[in-house]
């Protein structure tokens, strides 16, 4: 069964002290039996570390058969963010947009955020939100963005974190363009709940590696009691469909 990972990190952030080059991630993917992973940085662009774009693109260039990349942006610089998004997708091979509202401190339904999501949708790429328990990242706060951009594929990373998984499932049930991504939240059973509530096609495996251990995150989904067919979708086929990558294309 092919395992693709919808949420991992490659970055070296001296501010956070999180130093995770691709060489830290790849062995963990190998250990977990994950064939490819979507990587993203720990900080937003435009920002104090403009080299992040080249760093992430460089990681994909070093491991082209293992990694895809999202560009992580802050809508607080609307024109530059849009320019970077178009550049990253059209010219650098990035496959989507990462938004971390706790980092850029805007409500997800804010017009500047919605505008950037629409740009992503126009480029045909999905948007992965950090969705946990902090204000401006909870599922019900992201729901207005999903409603405002029904043409955009919105992924709730961590599917609501520790306290908001029920809200994440409810938001996905209400909005057919919302997907749930399984990383880091500690409840195997909630993955089963999600599949029962919204079907297996919009639940995506993610690990949040290398901080969270990819092999453990795979084990978590295995514990959810999904059928073989459901696991095929959750572990890989759904992400391939979302990224427009058939089984035959790399």
């Amino acid at each position: 069964m092919e395992i693709l990972d919808a949420h991992t990190h490659v970055d070296e952030s001296p501010t956070l002290g999180w130093l995770d080059p691709p060489e830290a991630l790849i062995p963990l993917l190998d250990e977990a039996g994950i064939s490819r992973a979507v990587i993203m940085a720990y900080s937003d662009l435009p920002g104090p570390r403009p080299e992040t774009l080249d760093y992430v693109a460089g990681a994909v260039a070093r491991y082209p058969d293992r990694l895809w990349a999202l560009i992580r942006l802050t809508p607080r610089h609307p024109e530059e963010a849009k320019r970077l998004l178009v550049h990253a997708v059209r010219e650098r091979g990035f496959v989507g947009l990462k938004l971390h509202p706790v980092s850029f401190a805007l409500p997800p339904g804010h017009p500047l955020v919605v505008d950037l999501i629409r740009t992503a949708a126009g480029l045909g790429v999905p948007v992965l939100f950090h969705s946990g328990d902090d204000g401006q990242s909870t599922p019900l706060e992201i729901a207005p963005a999903a409603a405002a951009c029904p043409e955009a594929a919105i992924i709730l990373g961590h599917m609501g974190g520790y306290f908001h998984t029920a809200d994440a499932i409810a938001v996905a049930r209400a909005h057919p363009n919302v997907y749930l991504e399984t990383s880091a939240m500690p409840y195997p059973q909630r993955i089963r709940d999600a599949v029962r509530a919204i079907g297996p096609e919009r639940v995506l495996f993610g690990s949040d590696g290398p901080g969270c251990q990819p092999a453990l995150e795979v084990d978590k989904v295995r514990r959810a009691g999904l059928s073989e067919a459901e696991q095929v979708l959750v572990f890989g086929r759904n992400l391939r469909r979302l990224l427009g990558r058939s089984d035959k294309t790399p």
């Binding site: 956070l16 500690p186 251990q213």
Partner: protein, 248 residues
């Protein structure tokens, strides 16, 4: 030797409850030798009968279960009286403080008489840690500094934040307070466990499942898969807690 530092017994006001038979079955199913059993807060709010329930379970299974008392600091002298009763009459061996479910700040002065008693009787203390406003790592750091002789297990390692924004304060808590232990239930980020073991020693980390809030098998798997020497994993899985409870 596997010990689980945190399981809640009995009917639970806040969610699923675990009865004694299910609890023991779960220990057997996961190869767990012993467990610290804490009272869940029952739907009728009364912690005294919940402590009695834990005491009875421990008397029936003294080789498998270690009981912790649970009291509500809001009750002032009555809380201390209940803790004394639970320890002296029921034979419970530790104190659970659950600031989120009893709704108190863990560094509130009302907690001090309870920790004073814990110090006097050499009780192990467990704090439901990382909950916003009530048991943030800096609050645990504060109260733990007033009772440096009391060993304290901080559940979730004192941080419940999937953005990673609790990691800094929790790390500083462990560095500043050698009497605080990182208890692993539901914890965010395995690399933090591994880094902490390398920096401060695996002796500072204690496995707990937090069942039934968390999945006991998955929580144990979290420890089994840590990228640490097997001796460190064994220490985390049970030996550290055995030592803290003076079982070995």
């Amino acid at each position: 030797m596997i010990l689980d530092a945190e399981i809640y017994l009995g009917p639970n006001l806040f969610g699923p409850g675990l009865d004694e038979a299910a609890l023991l079955h779960s220990l057997d199913a996961h190869g767990i030798n012993r467990a610290v059993v804490c009272p869940a807060r029952p739907p009728d709010y009364h912690l005294g009968p919940a402590n009695d329930r834990v005491g009875a379970a421990v008397r029936r299974h003294p080789d498998r279960l270690v009981g912790f008392a649970r009291v509500d600091p809001h009750q002032g002298p009555a809380a201390l009286a209940e803790l004394r009763r639970a320890v002296l009459d029921l034979g419970l061996r530790g104190l659970l403080l659950h600031p989120w479910e009893e709704l108190f700040a863990v560094n509130d002065p009302s907690v001090e008489p309870l920790l004073g008693f814990a110090q006097e009787r050499r009780l192990l203390v467990q704090i439901a840690g990382g909950y916003p406003l009530v048991s943030h790592a800096v609050q645990i750091t504060d109260v733990a500094g007033r009772f440096p002789e009391v060993s304290i297990l901080a559940t979730h390692g004192g941080q419940i934040n999937i953005s990673g924004r609790g990691l800094y304060d929790a790390g500083q808590m462990l560095r500043a307070r050698p009497n605080v232990y990182l208890q692993t239930s539901g914890v965010y980020r395995e690399d933090w466990l591994e880094d902490t073991a390398r920096e401060l020693g695996a002796a500072r980390i204690v496995f707990g499942s937090g069942a039934p809030y968390y999945d006991q098998g998955f929580e144990l798997e979290r420890i089994r898969r840590l990228h640490l020497p097997s001796g460190d994993r064994d220490a985390i899985a049970g030996l550290n807690l055995s030592r803290l409870l003076a079982l070995i």
